[in-house]
Amino acid sequence: MTGNSLWIVRNLWLIPALPMLAAGCSAFLKKSERTLSATLAIGSMSLSLLLALFAFLQMLIDPTRQVVSFAWLRFGDQWLSLGWLLDPLAAVMLVMVTFVGLLIFIYSLGYMAHDDNFTRFFCFLSLFAGAMLGVVIANSLLLLFMCWEVVGLTSYLLIGFWFHRPAAAAAAKKAFITTRVGDLGLLIGMVWLYAQSGTLIFYDNGRGCLEQSAVAGLAGHVTLFGMAVSTAIGLLIFCGAAGKSGQVPLHVWLPDAMEGPTPVSALIHAATMVAAGVYLVARVYPLMSAHALEVVAWVGAITALFAACIAVAQDDIKRILAYSTVSQLGYMMLGLGVGGVAVGVFHLITHAFFKALLFLGAGSIIHGCTEEQDIRNMGGLRRFMPVTFLTYAAGMLALCGFPLFAGFWSKDAILHAAHGWGVSRGPFYLGAIGALLTAFYMTRQVCYVFFGQRRAPAASVMPATVAAHAIPADQLEPVVSARLGEVCAIEDPHESPVVMTRPLQILAVFAVFLGFVGTPAWPWFQSFIAGQTAKFDFGGFSEPGLLSIMLVSSLIVFAGLAFGWWFYGRKPILHATDPDALERLQPGIFHALANRLYVDEFYGVTVIALMRFLAAFSAWLDRWIFGGAVNLISWLVKGFGWLDAGADKFVVNGGFDEGCREVARGGRLFSRLQNGRVQTYLSVLAAALVVLAVLLLWGRRG
């Protein structure tokens, strides 16, 4: 086991191990032991946070990459090795994941307080946290893949947490299967990489697959379509990242994943798991050739615009945020493609904070409105839930990229890099339009939810959970009660408890101020990732084109906010059933967008239909051909068995019985000699004597 003497590096494995251990212990707890389960989860996460901070400090002191690896599995004369590494990128991700994760764990204490399956929830959350941290520190693509799969598994478990609801169960399946499609590409890429370079360890004193010699070797080989092998492998790995991070063809699972509880949406589908794909691309960046990065950039740009368009016409508060997440993930990929690791990861970090904030805020809103999720049924909440409103507004501005908020700096860096991209200006324009739409739909959402007047839900669109209030509590189905917060009548919404608002406040602070670590004047973040130190220098603003881009993006944001206010904020929306302002303007386009541009339906007709056909065919094959063969063999065996039985019964037994009867008959025959009469015995004796004598005499004569 190669390692070094730094304590934190040797024990870096504790960071994912502690939450996993907590999950393992939680798995055995009963439903009633809630405090123990929550303590285990939050305690392990806090310890991991401390260790992550320690690691981060270590990287601040000395940003050289530290690696530990050990041999794990032997086959033939080769060894598969696993290991972990600590470098600035990993350190930053560790702190982000543990910190945001801890805040969300604390938030969940309040949000899931009335849920029956509290214990199971925290068990899964810990497992997820452990696996995600494993993905972050993995030095081996194999270890990363293993943790990646566990992350996928926990995502499935948590989306389908309320598995009694068919929609949630279906959404969990959809998430798993869609990401599986991407994971197939990742697996093929991984195997190819191993075959080509002989190792899956990233950094291994020059022998690793991301290091100079291996990458040069991969770039040298050419494969089909004239691609370099490194391009092909990079694209395959990007497939996996695209699945996990919801890039355009494989984005369909993310909005449906909102069926899970809101803390899950915040942690997994906003801040961390979906960022795992981005992190993966950042991690294998040395492998990505310019061609692969082109593909990444275009896919990211298209995703950004596509999702932003759909978000404009959604009515469910979480679905808007989900599509917003997809869009922002597109931005991250775009940033990786055009600007490099630091640009993409910076946006990842800032996005984690403000998206988590937005989701938690949405959770607070949902909780306060007694499980209402349709924004048309909300309104004027800023009077009832001020803390939520303020924090939500901070997050929204950060997301839009309002100047000086965190999102502004990170998104601006992406747009700047896209503008200066040598290959094409297309992604820049797509990103710019996307930014406009982002501002627009976020303003729409905020206006619908917080401004105007309170809109009571119309009787016909009352959600089932609210209508359930008319039914006595003991007749409620468990399905319904799982999602109920405090059972209260249809009354005014109320602010959430402190255990839920405190994390919101903390996150809001970060959403506002985090961007300052990556401004052009002081690009601390970018330098840190690259392993260099940064100096505070206003001269950074004087980079050509930078100021104009900043101006342009600010204008775009303002334009979007203005449009949003014009359509939705100027006149209060009076009734829940009022048509959307945009809908009145362009009903056709609006309906198309509201139906998510029919991507799901398209998949249903093509891929799903093909799958159904294959499944039916396989079933037929299995039943008639394979099953038939098995049945045939079983009939043959039965036939043989019947033959055997017959042979045994008639031939063997019969023969044996006959033999025995013959023996008995013979015995009976001979027993007649023994008639009990002495004289008979004597006669026989005498006769025998005579015969013997004759024989002797005859022999003597002859």
């Binding site: 027993s671 023994q674 008639n675 009990g676 009469r677 002495v678 004289q679 004597l682 006669s683 005498a686």
Partner: protein
């Protein structure tokens, strides 16, 4: 025919008479009597060979006959006692009726 052959023939005759009686008569006592006759025939054989044989001074035949007579006496006693015992148990001394050992 020399005297030895004559004695031997007589002895053979006696022997076969004894066997005939032992095999044909029904009474157990007569079966025993037949056996005694057979023994006596054998004794006559021995005496004949002693008398006309090569070394009469060894007295082999004579001694043998003495012993044979002793044995015959013992056997007759025991056999007749057996017949008595069986007679007491089965009230018959007819050998053709005592078939307990049949089979």
């Amino acid at each position: 025919m020399n005297p030895l052959a004559g004695c031997l023939l007589v002895s053979a005759l006696l022997f076969s008479v004894g066997i005939a009686g032992a095999l044909t008569r029904r009474s157990a006592i007569l079966v025993l009597a037949g056996i005694e006759l057979m023994l006596n025939a054998a004794n006559l054989n021995f005496i004949a060979f002693w008398r006309f044989g090569p070394h009469p001074e060894f007295l082999t035949g004579m001694i043998f006959v003495i012993f044979s007579i002793a044995v015959a006496a013992a056997e007759a006693a025991v056999g007749l006692a057996l017949i008595l015992a069986i007679y007491r148990f089965t009230r018959t001394s007819d050998v053709s009726e005592i078939t307990e050992m049949k089979g």
